[in-house]
Symmetry: C2
Subunit: 348 residues, 2 copies
DNA sequence: AGCGTGACAGCAAGCGCTTTCTATACAGGA
DNA sequence: TCCTGTATAGAAAGCGCTTGCTGTCACGCT
């Protein structure tokens, strides 16, 4: 039914071994023979059987990219950058690899299952992006799985994710804490003293780090934080919208709202406007990530730019063994404060 | 080194065949035996070898999702919906499938290579999303490849993509033409007579269809189009920004700008504002797709909502054989005009 | 002339699983 | 009691490819 290596070999009048070697190009084959083989491949429209070759060679050309939410540009941008370096089709020549992005939806179980699936496929490399879940049993399960993957020869790289406690994987981490701190310092510098904070889901590292940075800035300025000023929600505009309404309900005198990320900030802006508040005259707003739309909204968003594409590209190269891992296996990538229209001095 | 089926069998004191059957659950195995096997699997921390099982069974649990640009929420949302229905981890129970999204970057070659890679992996199904490239040789190469995939048992579904000429694949198409027409009719209804159009890349079906809809509306209203009113660019904000500047340069009297999609519209808004024009008082703006941010920008964007998530989910179910394909293999999905703040009556 | 030496090509042994067919065991029914 | 049917387990033959090892041949050297 389907064409196999043997068929090609027969047609080219060579042994299957020779065909395999022509296709893999890692063993000397005379030019004329190669030619003959390639012609046969072409004529028969032969396509290598991936599973069979993966089995025989004990390696595969699959590279997994785990993301929390593929519909979120934060992950999309990173995934895109990683993938372009993985050198899937169109990347630099050489082994064509199938870069596959897996959407965990932020669920620890799915993350684990995808990891198992990739392990099952004997993936060549795995890149995990975005914040991790801090739930203890899950965290150690993931760590164990990553260790096992590493032992099996799969290269594991974390991108925008805190290093594993046992440092078993190479990690490119975003300095969420530092960015969060800088952002809030900026607002404090403008004169704000009552700042609401819309945090992400409780159990995520990203959420915690950004919040810690925020609080560190408050503490450094001697501002005592009111527990009512913090609300948790998901990382999307809807959550930002609702959280802002809640914040306003709890304390209408807030002069600034710091959001967990740009999408949340967008929702916050909508809520503020609907509440009749002007930005930034009445309330300042700040985001995080600097996604593409952030500069276009009105007023443009004050935020912390994270070099998502650069980090992704680097992670991709490291995963492919095309770049040296950072010294010590861990690199911290800093964000850059982008001061724009959504932040201003508080109303007196 | 690595644990194999045979190791598990030895430990559980059964034959490899039995272990395989326990794992695949499609053959009667006594409860006590099953139990013993599962315990052994657990104790040895055994993970099935995907390639080996795919080879032996001649099927795999990979499902491919092709997207033009993973960093674009348009595709992210669809991919996410498809994936959740594919029932990757966390989906409904049963066969766990590895849904992999492949980023073609809009390049025909990469699209083709990914298709080959998926064919090589003997993918269970493939979903192609978004507009196709109209370049003839490429189009027929893709069609041929899809046909071959179909013959090999891979289910092929097109989502948000025009049906293949030979109707070889199931297609869920967006009515881009109708949406484009409706949108422009709306603007004409408001009194606009000089409308700029920022189209996507020339060779894409989506671009052409939306533009045709626009022109049909103009023609129906007896408005003769000035060729200077159309500019082509990519589907991103940057392109929208630049195209708008160009449009303004060519004809400063335009009263409306219709963009290829929401991101482009966002860039257009930025350019207009920087040119000192108010929206919609001086110039109306319209987008397409109704991405999540479109309702939050100021002014909120008049656009055509495409049910991306619903379409994706449906495509996913069809790909998994969990929903009947539409009658005739083709379904057209209509968009819905969303009239919002960015469109108004033209300045007299 | 004899022979070491490259440069290629082929043989054949798996890689780890699935699955068909066969074997065994026990329960009823005749 | 013997035979048949049913439930369950095992033996073994691949699935299509890779690769270590074994030729074979044509040179060029001594």
């Amino acid at each position: 039914m389907t064409v196999t290596l043997a068929d090609v070999a027969a047609r080219a009048q060579v042994s299957p071994a020779t065909v395999s070697r022509v296709l893999n190009g890692n063993y000397p084959v005379a030019a004329t023979t190669r030619e003959r083989v390639l012609r046969a491949v072409d004529e028969l429209d032969y396509v290598l059987n991936g599973p069979a070759s993966a089995l025989a060679a004990a390696t595969s050309d699959l590279v997994g990219i785990l993301v929390n939410d593929i519909a979120d540009p934060f992950f999309g941008i990173m995934a895109s950058a990683i993938q372009s370096e993985i050198g899937g089709p169109g990347g630099r020549a050489g082994g064509e690899r199938l870069a596959v992005v897996c959407n965990t939806g932020g669920s620890p179980e799915r993350e684990l299952t995808y990891l198992t699936l990739l392990q099952r496929q004997r993936a060549a490399a795995v890149v995990l992006t975005g914040g991790a879940v801090e739930d203890e049993p899950h965290a150690s399960a993931v760590a164990a799985k990553l260790r096992r993957l590493g032992e099996a020869g799969t290269r594991v790289v974390l991108c925008g994710r805190p290093p594993a406690p046992d440092a078993s994987a190479i990690a490119l981490t975003f300095d969420n804490r530092g960015g969060g701190r800088e952002l809030t310092e900026h607002l404090i510098g403008l004169g704000h003293r009552r700042l609401g904070y819309i945090a992400g889901p409780e159990e995520r590292t990203t959420t915690r780090h950004r919040l810690e940075g925020h609080r560190a800035a408050l503490a450094a300025a001697g501002i005592e934080e009111d527990p009512r000023w913090t609300v948790h929600g998901r990382y999307d505009r809807r959550a930002g919208y609702e959280a802002t309404l809640e914040l306003l309900r709890r304390d209408p005198t807030l002069t600034a709202v710091v959001a967990a990320n740009d999408s949340v900030a967008l929702g916050a802006c909508a809520a503020l406007r609907e509440s009749g508040l002007r930005i930034p005259e009445d309330v300042s707003v700040a985001g995080f990530d600097d996604l593409p739309f952030s500069i276009d909204v009105v007023p443009s968003l004050t935020t912390v730019r994270l070099p998502l594409a650069e980090a992704g590209a680097r992670a991709g190269r490291i995963a492919m063994g095309r770049e040296e891992p950072p010294h010590g296996g861990i690199a911290t990538i800093r964000g850059e404060l982008m001061v724009r229209g959504s932040s201003g001095t508080p109303r007196s």
